[in-house]
Symmetry: C2
Subunit: 422 residues, 2 copies
Amino acid sequence: MKFSYLHVNEGRLQNTLEQMAKIGATSGGGVQRLTLSNEDKLARDLFVKWLYDLNLEVTIDEMGNIFGKQQGKNPILHPVISGSHLDSQPKGGRFDGTLGVMGTLEVLKTIQDLDLETERSIIIVNWTNEEGSRFAPAMVGSGVWSGALKRDWVYNRKDIDGKRFEDELSRIGYKGSIPCQKRPVYCYYEYHIEQGPLLERAKKTIGVPKGIVCLHWYDVYLEGEANQVGPTPMEGRHDALCAAAEMILKVNTLPNRMGGNMVATVGEIQNHPNSRNIIPDKVHFTVDIRSWDDDHALSAWKLVRQNFEDIAARRGCTIRIEETWRVDRSPFDKKMIHEIKTITDELGYPHLDMISGAGHDASYMNQVCPTAMIFAPSMSGRSHVEIENTSWKDCEAGANVLLHAILHSANEKRVKSKLRTH
Amino acid sequence: MKFSYLHVNEGRLQNTLEQMAKIGATSGGGVQRLTLSNEDKLARDLFVKWLYDLNLEVTIDEMGNIFGKQQGKNPILHPVISGSHLDSQPKGGRFDGTLGVMGTLEVLKTIQDLDLETERSIIIVNWTNEEGSRFAPAMVGSGVWSGALKRDWVYNRKDIDGKRFEDELSRIGYKGSIPCQKRPVYCYYEYHIEQGPLLERAKKTIGVPKGIVCLHWYDVYLEGEANQVGPTPMEGRHDALCAAAEMILKVNTLPNRMGGNMVATVGEIQNHPNSRNIIPDKVHFTVDIRSWDDDHALSAWKLVRQNFEDIAARRGCTIRIEETWRVDRSPFDKKMIHEIKTITDELGYPHLDMISGAGHDASYMNQVCPTAMIFAPSMSGRSHVEIENTSWKDCEAGANVLLHAILHSANEKRVKSKLRTH
């Protein structure tokens, strides 16, 4: 039997995606399943039910990562892992993360339908808190699992209401007892939407990223002086919001000033006391810098940090900067990339070589084992928004590539562990 | 008996100010009594109790304005009104508004202690929602009373949680049955803290404003396009927060660009979805412009509005602007100003001629009857903050001036109504 004839069940994949999209559905057609929220719990409950329906061996670790294992023929061989995440941004889309989990689920169903036994076990995973929008930073489930982040540091992270990560994990009933730590893995696949406009522009069906850009997150805290706006002359004001406004524009022009090859964004701002007739005295805002070149991103930060300090000094505001999170760029496994492209060609899908500008759990898994990703096109390049969309046809195409890639890896017999040590 | 020998009871004034400061007290030494909140209700309850303790005739109108009337000898003569407001900014100060109400209360106690009968009735008032920080705009109690604002428009204003003004007024039990509309008044006094640094800098005890600057409030709503920050190139972004940042700086430089004689401030901003890895798509911010010259403020708005539209167009954002509120400048009654200065001299307090940069209910009362204000110094010019402060000595000095000013006006016998019609 030639694998290229195999394909997943498109209607069934659509159905599971649509069922999952009902959980936390928003009026604008998206989903809101912030990590460790009630909606996240409901999504997990449904996912776990589906894992049991497939008779998988379900385990939940102390970070709330959920694994479902389909046993391979040869217990000596290390497993293939594939998955993504079910949590979402506030008013996010139905495909971000979910496609990779539901895609893997559909692959497992297809394999079971056809009674295809594989040499290696296949493990489907839903990682906890990939988004990082409720609890910063992002990708903490895979981060702790890979050893890059400390469990207890993550446990103590707080959301904007002061709620602790660990407490919320316990509250929704997903603080498992199994230690969250890396184990030998043969390789890791993550199927995901592109979240950008390149595939659509190039009219390609499958994106094959050579890796993920580096990701740097910073938190800036400014303090000026509050006063009634009317009787306080313009001269001598210490307006923290004006200082922040200058800094936001410095971030916005940073990629140009650095000669390109990066993006830089301020996505979040809190202003205090946020009353229209009081000069703002406290402002917090975030900075997100990404590049394929780690050193370039660090040089950019050095430049903009100096800009921040100059602006704060000139406006008489104090400034405190937290270097919240850094993940180096992740170049994926060349052999796996080659295999994905071969499969894509055999299935007749046009593909595009690219770099992922979005961070993924694959960044951390790439530190543990050979890793690669498969991208499906995002309509109009829109993502992290309610109207995020990918055609059912494209969802199926990527799942077909994933099916063949997983079957290929799960039947490779090299016994030698490919677990990397760092 | 010569009035200049009379003075209020400093210790008693301090005591009432301290008692009132306990309601909504904040850890930083200020108060938080947002209008129509539970704390506002408690402050009103205590105030009304104190009015009954003085055997005043208490009335509450349909806007929640609270009046306490001490009957004069001659019922034909129009009354003298004096007061201010008990609501506060979020984490505001103990003196803003409260000093004018407690100062008038102390004046009435002093008059009663000495069995001084006056020709005219004296009415103490607490106006509803002077601050405007929970429900915009500000000064709506006096605004409706004076006829400048429509009652039902104010009733339908909503706070940030979507609660209606009228519902909250009913909830705290202060929606009275008496129509809120202007009645004949001989004159209006408002005693207040300066809220700026000028008195302290000039080492003067009493500020005598010739009037209040005009006050223009605007609300700006921007809409761009949200996307995942990583895979979205810098070119072609429609970042609403960057557009807002440029606009905030245009507001900040506006007074300089207009050649001075004004202040302009952005105090409030909301950013959506406010997630660090999503490009902001919706931003709302406020603009506050004040000047002694109405036309100058309007020209400034015309200029900055054009700046806004240019910036929005260049960044591919849509812009919607609400011209929320305009109060023209209020030149106070020259005769009353002269009388206040005479009293101040007689009492031996050094005074400063000035303009009020802060808005006050006196702006609207000035449209109805002869009006004037008395200012006490603000330590370090700080106001709308928890550390707002005025020495007890200075509190007493202003109350002494108010005592003599009220006695003077309440004994003037001109029968002719000074009610202005507009």
